[in-house]
Symmetry: C2
Subunit: 335 residues, 2 copies
Amino acid sequence: MAKVSMREVADRAGVSVGTVSHVVNGSSKVAEATAAKVNAAIEELGFVRNAAARQLRSGHSSSLGLVVLDTSNPFFASVAHGARQACDEAGLALLIGDSGTDEQREGKYLDLFAEQRVNGLLVTPTGSDLSRLESIAARGTPVMLVDRDSNGYALSSVTVDNIAGGRMALDHIIAGGCRRPAFIGGPQSLPQVADRLAGATERALEAGLELPVHSTPELTILAGRDAGEKVVGLPADQRPDAVFCANDLLAVGFMQAVIMFSDLSIPDDIAILGYDDIDYAFSTIVPMTSVRQPAALLGRTAVETLLQENASASDAHHDRRFTPELVVRGSTRPV
Amino acid sequence: MAKVSMREVADRAGVSVGTVSHVVNGSSKVAEATAAKVNAAIEELGFVRNAAARQLRSGHSSSLGLVVLDTSNPFFASVAHGARQACDEAGLALLIGDSGTDEQREGKYLDLFAEQRVNGLLVTPTGSDLSRLESIAARGTPVMLVDRDSNGYALSSVTVDNIAGGRMALDHIIAGGCRRPAFIGGPQSLPQVADRLAGATERALEAGLELPVHSTPELTILAGRDAGEKVVGLPADQRPDAVFCANDLLAVGFMQAVIMFSDLSIPDDIAILGYDDIDYAFSTIVPMTSVRQPAALLGRTAVETLLQENASASDAHHDRRFTPELVVRGSTRPV
DNA sequence: CAACATGATTGAAACGTTTCAATCAGATGT
DNA sequence: ACATCTGATTGAAACGTTTCAATCATGTTG
């Protein structure tokens, strides 16, 4: 039975509940002798303070809520990991919700977190309408968008520049001497995918090149393999000499198809470039060149920025944007 | 400001707080007209009930705590995923802690969860001394060990039979006609690794074979690659014709080494068998044969069993053990 | 020795729900 | 018209803390 309250500790130690509270929280000077007695009583009775009562009285919860699109995606797993670390350091609990890109599930988690009176909300929203989040923020719960622009809405955000990432990828491909790049990825309804493509296209045009798109239904290894199978089947004069994949899973699948279904050499006949730099990316047969997103840092920064804004009491919104970083390995031609 | 309470809703609707509570929870018949008035008031004022007060009064929290060794390990990620789904279905919140195999961090999460008065605890303990968990269970919070035997302790557990898994692996290797198997894995301080090896050794001996062990410091792709590099460097008459790797990450690394540093064909010259059957396992160049652990099911079952035990009020402990399943793909010789 | 500062301790009021016995207003049966 | 019953509503206590003004000892100062 975890039914021992401060009342009983107080009785046992021959002292008042107020005093017990003070020694538990160090909120006020307590004589050493009394503190010892109280601690002894706590030990004997196995007292653990009740978070609910504590929070009810003090009005806030010392916890943060995080809602991501898919926890089994390595990128979001890293984001969550970084966020959790930051929370641990700040002595906060982190509640994690997985929306599975379902707006309804996202809503359920927002409700749940609202009832918990979380100190703040970190969200990668599924839909494009952020008005609910905006009104939550307006009602006093700080909201931080993660990997999603606040554009227009009165919300703070922490993102990685996908347009720059796209440019970076094509930059490298072009510098390696490739003249027939292609983009593999989809669906384009994902802002992340669309932006990477936009940046890449922009850079290609500057070099006087086209950037044909091979659409995929999702961002998985299998989808990448399918795309790869099609691409290597193209006649040599239509086949790209470099592909930029919207994420690493696609790139891994694409690479497999190239190896299984063709004799093309990587990177000489065809260069492959991924995005995210997930842990498995460097462990492909031909180590993968990739645009690294600082996923864990994203999560950590989201938490830290939110806490800062919370503390500063000014309700200004910040948009923190990271720049991705190209990690060159063997799957693309050296410059 | 989320500072609107039932009191204000009640005033607004011209009704008592009790009634508001009833309509919010459906705990008692309320006339349709009154309910409508109350709901209108709730809507207008933007009332969200306060979980802390609710829990304080009702005494329990409708949440579960999960502490795993490492959330970035795909196996535990799946376990967590399964657990979360089961919790969602039961209307429970799932708090996740990541101990990072650090006993102190594990303890911190146990403290935190105790303060939250979670309805139950799912733990993959780091150390071998489970007495703390035992006393938590004795104090009334149901505890479920995940992927860890309860042996001796008065605790429930949900596990996958690692000894059977080890036997299964060797069974398949032997049936494929291999006569010189080897085990790749470590550290042996992990019960999971030790048990897999034990089962495999047992089966090998039955077939009159030895099972040499190539120890690895950890269960990662890189460690597997290092091991593979050494193994393919052995003279042909000492080289194994089949390796059983303690998990898939090792197996993936091992396969890479074989392909990069030798001309051996997989599976004819050397068969490779992994463990876990993580999502990335089937997407290796030569698709990986692996011993599948029902990770998500493990998490789900842990939650469900815990809830059942909770409901049944009898404090009997159950040990639920799953049997793993061999998934045969191209990296081993067909039978 | 009185007055006072200092530090430790106490008591009681809140926090926002749930819950349950008690009340109330109608409807039903006699 | 009276008693009875039913279903809807209410009021107030309780949950376990925190917090703050008030009290209580002690030692210090004029």
